[in-house]
């Protein structure tokens, strides 16, 4: 299950092998602050674009809900039903209950912190798919999955309950995201999707009696590294889970493209019997290039405590630099036409093209033309063309990928 925070990311998820995608509309989802949320009017288009590829669509509706939200909650769930979105991801009982009344499928969000089999049984009255707490070990997940089979715990549809876990992406220092930090310091509640990410900053401890400042070994004491399970995905799959979720609705489309592709390949490799060390290294290498705070295996492998990051922001080994916009695509010649607006494009450069319909294309410039002449480099204000296998659209964005 891949995150879709924008049309670009949605298309990237579809093109790179996601079986399902999840997204939010306006407020009332855990990324309400992200500017890239969809609106209710986008639901039919999202549903039809994904249905064409046989991909399921899930709408996140998992914040804390107050009385003044109840009417908009109903509007959203009605629209989900009307647009044939596959299901909603919910945590508040008001949301779960209303969706059940009108026959919209519900997935139980990680916000509900499911950590044992009896809780699974309880929510089975309302749901078929449940996301477990992020703080469980592989052993605990395995026991829950096998109990579901042994006790034949069936969800509201009559099928066995499916268990979903987080496989990759940012982690939070608070248990299942129930954090008060952002609300306490900036009045912006994380549980209403307005998290200010205070945990990602540096802190020091001051003794209020004598004013001494304590230096901490690790200054980013509250900022965990990002979760990555690709190097023990076999063990994670063998616990019996049905869905692997990728975090990142606030992430760029190329991030979604790379992570989705890597995990798609890894899952397929596992079932084909060639999940090898060599491949794992290749995937790790690809994941290192995109936004990350350094990786660890989360709580799955039972470390005593979180591993904290030692930098602010990303450790990505690659970054993108904006070059210009797409103008036209010549399908017969398979050539893309672009206008360079900043920096320069040179033969041999690795480039990234993103667009709401295009999704994400990564390629290397083999040859480059300006005004019909072969050139080594195209600068600012130049209009250039180069060979491209995939169609690009007007106003698609062209970036150069450079090492950090």
């Amino acid at each position: 299950m891949a995150p879709a925070g924008s049309w670009e990311a949605l298309q990237a998820a579809l093109d790179n092998g996601a079986d399902s995608i999840y997204f939010g509309v306006d407020q009332l989802n855990m990324r309400a602050r992200a500017t890239m949320n969809f609106t209710l009017e986008d639901l039919p288009e999202i549903a039809s674009r994904c249905k064409r590829k046989g991909v399921k669509t899930y709408l996140t509706l998992n914040t804390i809900v107050y009385d003044h939200d109840l009417s908009i909650i109903k509007t959203v769930i009605n629209k989900v039903k009307e647009s044939q979105i596959s299901a909603i991801i919910a945590s508040d009982q008001a949301v779960i209950s209303y969706a059940n009344t009108i026959g919209v499928e519900v997935h139980i969000s990680t916000q509900l912190n499911i950590t044992n089999i009896e809780t699974v049984k309880f929510y089975a009255h309302f749901s078929n798919v449940m996301v477990l707490s992020r703080e469980l070990s592989l052993g605990q997940i395995k026991r829950i999955c096998s109990e579901v089979e042994k006790e034949k715990i069936k969800g509201s549809s009559g099928d066995l309950v499916k268990i979903e876990v987080f496989g990759h992406g940012a982690l939070c220092m608070a248990v299942s995201g129930k954090c008060y930090l952002s609300l306490h310091t900036q009045n912006a509640s994380a549980n209403r999707g307005a998290c200010m990410q205070n945990c990602r900053r540096k802190y020091k401890v001051i003794d209020m009696e004598d004013g001494h400042e304590l230096a901490l070994d690790n200054e980013y004491i509250m900022s965990p590294k990002d979760l990555c399970t690709i190097d023990f995905l076999d063990e994670l799959i063998e616990t019996g889970i049905s869905v692997l979720k990728i975090e990142g609705r606030g992430r760029a489309p190329e991030y979604v493209a790379t992570v989705t592709r890597c995990y798609r390949e890894a899952i397929d490799a596992y079932y084909e019997g060639n999940y090898t060390e060599k491949k794992i290294n290749e995937w790790m290498n690809a994941l290192d290039k995109i936004y990350n705070r350094g990786f660890w295996g989360g709580y799955y492998l039972g470390q005593e405590l979180g591993e904290w990051t030692d930098t602010s922001g990303s450790k990505a080994t690659q970054k993108k630099v904006y070059l210009g916009k797409g103008i036209h695509y010549f399908p017969k010649a398979k050539v893309g036409h672009f206008k360079i607006e900043s920096q320069a494009l040179t033969v041999g450069d690795k480039v990234l093209i993103t667009g709401p319909t295009t999704g994400v294309i990564e390629t290397e410039i083999a040859s480059l033309q300006v005004d019909g002449q072969f050139v080594k480099s195209a600068g600012k204000e130049d209009e250039c063309t180069f060979t491209l296998d995939q169609t690009i659209r007007k106003a698609d964005k062209l970036y150069k990928l450079v090492a950090t």
Partner: protein
């Protein structure tokens, strides 16, 4: 006079402004975002001129707004 401005599109519907200045703010049942009563829209920003007696409570609302989309200007 006081000018209140609201960038409605970015509202996350937390209801703080309604609780602090209920005479000036109302939660929309239609889209779950807050509406500035008597506000006039221009390019996504809603503006209204009010008397000075509304300053204090609306200043509180502006300070409480988690997404900082309420501006108060005294003229």
């Amino acid at each position: 006079m006081v000018i209140i401005t609201h960038q409605r599109e970015k509202c996350i519907g937390c209801n703080y402004c309604v609780e602090l200045a209920f005479q000036r703010w109302r939660m929309s049942k239609k889209d779950g975002k807050c509406t500035l009563i008597d506000g006039v829209e221009k390019k996504g920003f809603y503006t209204v001129r009010v008397q000075d007696d509304e300053l204090e409570e609306n200043q509180k609302a502006a300070n409480a707004c988690p997404v900082k989309i309420i501006r108060i200007k005294q003229i």
